[in-house]
Symmetry: C2
Subunit: 323 residues, 2 copies
């Protein structure tokens, strides 16, 4: 009985960490590692079970303990490399948001970055920079730190001040009551009540500069009656220029849907090896690259601008392949 008590919490955490490993741990080995008697290990396992973490035990000569899936998430105990991997993954997820977990992934990123040791933070930055910007193309991706600040202020109901440059390049300072961060299409939008204009507004996150919470809490305001995501979608399609695309793909409908992903639009089968795609996007580059990368023959019916863009691409490729 050398170590004082008080380290029981630390021991439980260490135990949880060991049990999250894919292998099975015999009680004797756990006792040795944690420097307590096997009896105490058994009691600790019981304690974990009482806390709701289902420790599975296989009996017999090759038995051992391991943590199984339970009703609630246990605390994740990550080593340095795993933490960096998750941070990098979440940052690229923030650059290519998936609808449905948009704000949750930013919350998770905020949580992680808040406690990430600084030496690891450097590695995250370096690796995220080396990550292929994927389909971002020529557009500047959003700064993940901006997203973290926006989501934090919304969750915390703190007034938010930032500089906003609108589509025509004009830059204004805004004071807002942030309500929610929403991913629509492949962009991030902040839905907030604009205190100067006295109305609900949506702001593109990549156009927000230098955001910071003022520290002033505001009372919950009655949000617009629609679902936040729908509200943003409605505002977008009514204001921003959007291309509606109609194309025929020489690809079975199932494969097309799988390769395009759910957000691309609707895919209806024409026959066994063709289908019709209807969708919307806000840039021609995006549309063209998605279609070309399908790797199948296709025909564009709408919009005419896309056909023009494809012809420009042809010309470029022709010049590129000329000897």
């Amino acid at each position: 009985m050398l170590g004082a008590m008080g380290d029981m919490s630390a021991r439980l955490l260490a135990l949880l960490s060991l049990l999250q490993t894919p292998r099975e741990w015999p009680g004797s080995e756990l006792a040795e590692r944690l420097e307590v008697s096997p009896r105490t290990i058994r009691r600790d396992v019981d304690r974990l079970r009482e806390l709701g973490y289902p420790v599975q035990a296989t009996m017999g000569a090759v038995g051992g303990y391991r943590l199984a899936a339970g009703a609630a998430m246990p605390p994740l105990l990550l080593d340095d490399e795993e933490a960096v991997a998750i941070a990098v993954g979440l940052r690229t997820a923030a650059a290519h948001p998936v609808e449905g977990i948009d704000e949750a992934s930013v919350r998770a990123l905020a949580k992680l970055e808040q406690v990430l040791p600084s030496r690891l933070r450097h590695r995250v930055g370096a690796l995220a920079a080396a990550t292929v910007p994927m389909l971002a193309g020529a557009e500047a991706p959003v700064d993940p730190r901006t997203l973290v600040v926006l989501a934090g202020a919304a969750a915390n109901r703190e007034r938010l001040r930032f500089a906003y440059r609108s589509g025509d390049g004009a830059e204004t300072r805004r004071l807002t009551e942030p309500y929610r961060l929403v991913a629509a299409g492949r962009r991030w939008y902040l839905l907030a009540y604009d205190n100067d204009r006295d109305d609900w507004r949506i702001f593109r996150a990549d156009r927000i500069g230098d955001p910071h919470a003022t520290g002033v809490r505001f009372p919950a305001r009655v949000p617009p009656d629609q679902d936040p995501a729908e509200f943003v979608a409605a505002k977008l399609y009514s204001s921003a220029p959007v291309y509606e695309v109609v194309a025929t793909l020489r690809l079975p409908a199932g494969q097309a849907a799988q390769r395009l992903g759910a957000a691309a639009g609707s895919v209806e089968p024409i026959d066994d090896h063709s289908c019709r795609l209807r969708g919307r996007a806000d840039t021609l580059e995006w549309l063209a690259s998605r279609l070309l990368m399908l790797g199948c023959e296709f025909e564009v019916h709408e919009p005419p601008e896309l056909r023009a863009y494809l012809r420009a691409l042809i010309a470029r490729a022709a010049r590129a392949s000329a000897s």
Copy 2:
């Protein structure tokens, strides 16, 4: 003193969970939530600090507690949505591995999926399916579960049995001692000692079917003297067909490097608005789409196959844009 002790560990965990929130918590509020006296909260904070988690306290009338970045990663306490978001992020990270954190991201995914409640697992599956397969194009991405099994067996040093279909379509069963999972280029490879062939081999993870650990542990074998990643790279470039690309881009070198990412190859400036790209890739589709999506004029010098492929792409785009 109603609740028995023993819940001190649970309380510390709950406290840690609250402190990971972006906001600041006054001690009185924490005491109320956790149903203990403020004095106990102060002691708990001290305990956390002794455990190495730096709880920051701002003094004064608007003070409060929050968890700051420390020397080690504290246990991450995630709610359901955050866990799903991380799982989805890691799965897409597994589909587009970043060199340097390759095996760590799979380890993290294994850890998370081991304890992920089943109801959440369904949501992860659905969302991951809806995720845009990005640059995967026509190729079948690796099954994340396969990666998890491979990495687990390697970490655990368990013999691994699987079916392998080689490039020419032949399917064989293998018994191996897995050493490491490595990402090279944009693919996953397993470096393992093949027990039947008595030599080190590398296996493409997407060609591995139905892998399962036999449960038999094997003693550590002397690995090949190179670094695993280098070993894989050497084997690859000596055996697999690889295209070496040389192209001139009408884009400043800095921008090109940023848009292409570090793994694309080397970029040397020619003048202020042009640069030369040298790199290697194993499929023409990949090369062509990366170049076209740069959104700039470019000229391909090598290989001739890429020029031919671009001409085919031209033909397809021409047909697609024909009325």
